[in-house]
């Protein structure tokens, strides 16, 4: 089959007819497009990558086959990548080409729609975090945390250079943080957890004049709700360190807002709203106090007025950004996760505050209930701490890798933390299969 897009030779997305191409070449006085290229012979390439052209149907069929090669497991996985059911209307609306195929809003007069959507996203995060400033997004929770640490390095108010983070921090976050601070004056140190949340005494010992940044998570990577945030915040404040809280918008719908426990910055994974499971793709939440406005990394949308004095939105405070400030920019970030932020805002507005709180409350109740069911099994302890949990919790068994393998054979994926510890994450997407999971645990641990 041919047709202009379906089988024309060359790029199916270059709309030139042969006649048009000829007329254009003629107008330029050249015989061939190749004549327009000014590439010295010694670096010229012959175009032979060895990649065959395929029609779109073949590509789709091939990739369907490729993805079908993934095993079909019911996932009880979390540890930083969470997904909840995303209503179909979010897919439909966010797929509108006006959103999906638009660029950054450099011409606000014809991009008011996206600008307003991002302003609304910022506002939703302001409400959830309690902090007055939220940017348009970072890449993910890890890069948001790393940028928050770098922010502390830029502040005159913090004289220190130590970044204090939990020792159990997820590797992806810790690794990214390490990479980002490598070019700064900061060094990363850790504080221990007791009973799966922060060891307050240890933090008190660790925080000092040299501390620039203290980071605490709630829920933690194992799902424990951190009970001592305010105390950690006080410790940070005492030494003029920036206090940064990590969370996500679903948890923040129910939990104490970080501003009220003294957070200067909130980071986290906002893709818990709006994003389906996507192999780790995320949406970096970044919010902070007014004081640090001029040091915020990434884009900000502000309200303004147009020539008719009507409300209009625009990217603002761009002098912080790389395309203006170059090496003195607050970050090198340019492309961010705007479209994911759009989806998160849609999802939040669909749920509304009642829906968000209900969803969050289910994350508490379902985790507790599944943990209790597992704990009732011989040879299984859940949770392994005395905390309240959000979505997930740790599970003690004799042979964790063996149990995980047995569960996989029965169609379930869980985290294996060490030889005796598993982790299970319960959400609206898998809770119906929780009884089956418990039954599988019973079989495997018997």
């Amino acid at each position: 089959m041919s047709g202009r897009s379906a089988g024309a030779s060359g790029s199916p997305f270059a709309p030139h007819t042969a006649d048009e191409t000829a007329a254009m070449l003629d107008a330029l006085g050249v015989d061939d497009e190749a004549d327009l290229f000014d590439i010295p012979d010694e670096v010229a390439f012959d175009g032979a990558f060895g990649i065959p052209q395929r029609d779109e149907r073949t590509v789709r069929a091939d990739l369907r086959e490729t993805f079908a090669r993934n095993d079909d497991l019911t996932e009880f996985l979390g540890r930083g990548h969470y997904s909840h059911y995303v209503p179909a209307v979010v897919d439909d609306l966010s797929a509108r080409s006006e959103f999906l195929t638009s660029y950054t809003q450099y011409q606000p007069e014809i991009t008011q729609g996206f600008l307003q959507a991002l302003f609304e996203y910022q506002s939703i995060l302001v409400e959830l975090t309690g902090l007055p400033i939220a940017n348009c997004s970072m890449y993910d929770a890890a890069t948001a945390l790393a940028e928050a640490a770098l922010l502390s390095d830029r502040l005159r108010s913090t004289s220190g250079s130590t970044v204090l983070v939990p020792e159990g921090l997820r590797d992806g976050k810790r690794g990214t943080l390490d990479s980002y601070v490598d070019g700064s004056d900061l060094t990363v140190e850790t504080y221990p957890y007791v009973d799966n949340t922060a060891d307050l005494d240890a933090i008190a010992d660790a925080v000092g004049e040299d501390t620039a940044f203290v980071y605490a998570e709630t829920p933690t990577v194992t799902g424990a709700i951190e009970p001592a945030l305010a105390a950690i915040g006080d410790l940070a404040e005492d030494d003029d360190a920036l206090f940064c809280v990590g969370s996500d918008p679903v948890a923040l719908s129910l939990l104490e807002e970080p501003a009220s426990v003294g957070a200067d910055v909130v980071v986290g994974e906002a893709g818990a709203l709006g994003l389906p499971a996507s192999y780790g793709m995320g949406l970096g939440l970044f919010a902070c106090t007014e004081e640090h406005l001029r040091q915020v990394p990434g884009r900000l949308v502000g309200k303004s007025e147009d020539a008719d004095d009507r409300r209009a939105f625009t990217l603002t405070l761009q002098t912080r950004e790389q395309h203006i400030r170059k090496e003195r920019a607050t970050s090198n970030i340019c492309t961010n996760q705007a479209w994911v932020a759009l989806r998160a805002a849609m999802h939040a507005a669909y749920l509304g505050p009642e829906g968000l709180v209900d969803l969050a409350e289910d994350c508490v109740r379902d985790a507790a209930s599944v943990a209790a069911s597992l704990d009732a099994l011989d040879g299984v302890t859940a949770p392994l701490d005395d905390r309240h949990h959000f979505r997930e919790f740790t599970v003690g068994v004799d042979d964790a890798p063996g149990v995980a393998e047995g569960l996989a054979e029965r169609g379930f994926a869980v985290h294996t933390l060490d030889d005796e510890t598993l982790q299970v994450c319960v959400t609206d997407l898998n809770v119906e299969a929780a009884d089956d999971l418990v039954a599988a645990f019973a079989e495997v641990t018997n």
Partner: protein
Amino acid sequence: RNEPLLSEKDSTTVDPGAGSALPDDLTRDSLELPGLSEPELARHYTRLSQMNWSVEAGPYPLGSCTMKYNPSFADAVAADPNAAVHPDRDPETVQGNLELLHGLQEYLATIGGMDAVTLQPPAGAAGEFTGIAVAKAYHEHHGTDKSEVIIPASAHGTNFATAAMAGYDVVELPSGEDGRVDVAALEAAVSEDTAALMLTNPNTVGLFERNITEIAEVVHDAGGLLYYDGANLNALLGRARPGDMGFDIMHYNVHKTFATPHGGGGPGAGPVGVVEELAPFLPRPRVREVNAASGGDADGADASTAADGGALAGHDHGTADEAGGAAYELFDPEQSIGKVHGFSGNWLVLIRAYAYIRRLGDEGLLDASAKATLNANYLASLLDLEVPYGPFHHEFAATAGERDAADVAKGMLDYGVHPPTTKWPEMVPEAMLTEPTEVENKRSLEDLANAFNEAFADTDEELHAAPSKTASRRVDQTSAARNPRLSWHALEAARGASENASGE
């Protein structure tokens, strides 16, 4: 007419703590947010969408942003529910994902003439950061202390910001008279402190750096590395490869070159390719075929097979799969710089890039650069504005001369097109950096040229009054920055304050 804010459509306050299974001290007291029914939500966002430009609305000739048409089929591929898996899955249970990632690593390696590729960086700037971090790790591993990165004045702002983030001092290289790198100036700038030269080629005014081999020699001789900014790779597809020009490191902007949607700002993806000796420093983990694990330096081996070409046509399935075992596995490069993203980058974007490359193949990739370059030159030939330098490849910087480039751009809005990038690069006064890409045809270019020429011919008065046919008229940037109102809470507070003031 304005669309009301979500918060103007509904505002509901709840007490999340009431009835919670959590103790009071862990819960918040109040949450005030909008909640819209589905019909209201659909109308809100449909209306917002109607106030937004997109590639499907018309030409989007933002120079150096390369806004190409984003094919629908790639969206359909990315929506496959089987691809929607959690990143912590045992690699043996997500062989489909690994197969795609491995295939994309190979495609990108061969397209860039590189030996090894990481797909982890979630955007072009993140790719730059990754690449410079790799360079830094390489130098440190070899015990050489480098402190500077050289960047041409006309380079993207991200290059400067990236070098600074990585802890380097920036040495800015002025443009030569012909718009290209002045080799003499480069020779003067390099030293034993030079960690890398960051370069895009063709450069920001569409000129190929003809002396690239000499440039590479200068940098390499000083012990520096050559970094390729992939922003303009679309112009070279199939015609020249950064690896063959002497570049050691490069990033790919998948939305610019492989037509992934930009989503109003993101997500993107910024894979990084490197030559063999830098492969051990790439972020962890990467993907390889299981049987490649035993072959010593797997990275180099993978990629050079790929570059042979033959492997690319048939790399669909790993061979070990037949026996039920895994065909692909994750591995950590030996001297890895670590992580640059919490997981594996922007998966939904990578899928689309892979699908696009498979769709186009050699033939399509070669034609993309042909038509992108043809279009830029044809469009430039139709303009009443002066276009310094040239002939160009994929983009050119016209100058608005006595006129304000930003004003001319606003004028263009009323002709139903998106204007080019303005006032950049600085080497061209009142620059209008224009890149039509290959997706415009002759008529569309002529319409675009007409918009340029008409706006350029308008009086200053007319331009200052423009635009008038858009959703908003000229938006006041100064007011926005001087008095930042960044949430509906801020609007509410401002309203409250003015009411108080008038009440007194």
